[in-house]
């Protein structure tokens, strides 16, 4: 009965009002966004000489997050951050997004307010404004983000373009998000979301500045983001290009918290190879351009982890010089 009363209390119009209030009530008519929420559709007018980048991502309870584990504020932050990671992977600039929410009536109060707080923080931080969306009632919490960005025409970096001999680079340290997830899962109830071990999992930062810089300097021959794990994502980049890769295990940048990982029964190299949710950039650089790459950009390390090979297989060379095949063991929702 209480549920029914709650359901009666909230109407779709009110929900839209609440979202609009949290994320900017006035339809923005400045910049590229000419018409925002409140109409049938949004209007976006790109600046001359730029093309549009379109991407979207599910963020579903039970698959991408758990309501009893993930603070709603982190759910709000992360749903936008991971969609913008695809924009970063094109070397583009985020502009606006469409938020689609299906919520149980019981989650349209405090949960929604905290979710919107996290989403709003990410929206301001990454300069990506709400342009519209769709709301409905759901049995579970369903979130979908469609993100729109732009890039100078012809400058977006694609997955294709990698050539044998190109160096394979990653940004940041890999596997820390997976470590955070395992810590979260191993604990009962909520953990302090300020715990630095959880930051990479709860509040990832898309590598927007790095992506834009690489595109502007034309340094990356191919690029994608790491969302499912290096061992699952690198084969996709290789398949697009009909090439393979040979990685050096000693060069893969691992978590600095290997002691914590060990306590969890996890190996840092395995986390780095197969852990999902990193939202770091994976890119290839032709040999003559390697010198132009700094070691870090805005505090984010850049590491050459191997090379693109002509033969279309993926291999990992251990410190003792032996090579082994690298099997895709990253995240697959259908596994």
């Amino acid at each position: 009965m209480l549920l029914r009363i709650l359901a009666m209390r909230v109407r779709e119009n009110e929900l839209i009002e609440k979202i609009a209030a949290a994320l900017g009530r006035r339809p923005r008519v400045s910049g590229e966004l000419r018409l925002g929420i409140g109409d049938d559709a949004a209007l976006f007018r790109p600046r001359a000489g730029r093309e549009i980048i379109l991407t979207c991502d599910w963020f579903l309870e039970g698959t991408h997050f758990f309501r009893e584990k993930h603070p709603p504020d982190s759910v709000g932050w992360k749903c936008l951050a991971r969609a913008l990671s695809d924009i970063a992977a094109m070397g583009a600039t985020p502009r606006c997004f469409l938020l689609s929410l299906a919520l149980p009536a019981s989650h349209t109060g405090r949960w929604l307010s905290e979710f919107l707080r996290g989403l709003s923080r990410a929206s301001r931080k990454f300069a990506c404004v709400l342009a519209g969306g769709d709301t409905t009632q759901g049995r579970g919490i369903l979130i979908h983000i469609a993100a729109i960005g732009d890039a100078p025409t012809g400058r977006a970096v694609r997955r294709s373009g990698a050539r044998p001999g190109d160096f394979v680079y990653v940004s940041g340290r890999l596997g820390e998000a997976e470590l955070g997830l395992q810590i979260l899962r191993g604990n009962r109830g909520f953990l302090n979301s300020k715990n630095p071990l959880l930051k990479k999992h709860l509040y990832p930062e898309p590598r927007l500045a790095l992506g834009e810089w690489l595109a502007k300097k034309r340094l990356a021959s191919a690029m994608m983001d790491l969302s499912d794990g290096l061992s699952s994502d690198l084969p996709r980049l290789c398949a697009t290009n009909g090439v393979g890769a040979l990685l050096e295990s000693a060069r893969i940048p691992q978590t600095r918290h290997s002691d914590v990982a060990r306590k969890q029964g996890l190996d840092s190299l395995c986390l780095a190879l197969h852990g999902g949710d990193d939202y770091e950039l994976l890119f290839t650089v032709p040999p003559p351009k390697v010198r132009a790459l700094p070691r870090t950009i805005q505090g984010v390390i850049l590491t050459s982890i191997g090379k693109i090979t002509r033969e279309s297989k993926l291999a990992l060379r251990n410190e003792d010089g032996r090579e082994q095949a690298l099997a895709a063991r990253g995240w697959d929702p259908f596994r």
Copy 2:
């Protein structure tokens, strides 16, 4: 155990392959879409002098359709058609869409093939190509469409712009989709989807040609599509403009199947006022421009059903001249 085997059979990469094969394998590099599925994001380059229209819609099992009632082919058609109705309501032209699917492993075989057949038909019919999307496993069938269109800069028709004295118009006959839904719900199992009474519910046609024509001729001062029902949608248009409306009950275009409706215990006027899912256009026309409107456009009737009033209330005048308040009784997912 069988479910587990099915789940193992399908991988995300294979699912994406299947979708790509059904909807156009090659990334289109002609026209506005410069890069389609298979990368982190799609690239869209609008023609000079045009701006982008962005909209999105949920299409969820249990809320928007029922797997035991709705043919998968109709689910595929309708999820795109209703998203494009928002593009029609701006007077814009559809260009491409992002398809996000969450499916139980049991529905990645025949159900998915039929769904894709319907979606592919709609995609060709409305000249709107697949640009990308996201797939994952779900307990229920979750569909989300983000649609992208364009319109000559400054020409898109908004919800704002209606003035007191403007005539209120609708396209087509209202309430037929709701009648179809009621027939479908009253029957056990599947009905023949070719039944003409079900067509409006199962295979709606967004009024794209009409919307574009109204925008081009600058005839509509405000426009939106009818998705939740006239009595729920008209108040939204009025609220945006700070106005009201007086409708003439005798003028509301009702279903020609009023006998069928009566057998279902339904009143044709009630269906027309409150029935959802019509995907007809609701628009206002300033008095001097009314003469330019034909009675039909491509077989779709256009009907003036009343006028915009200064006083911000909604009223319905019956045939005997008495007025009554028109309450919002259309579709609200939170009711």
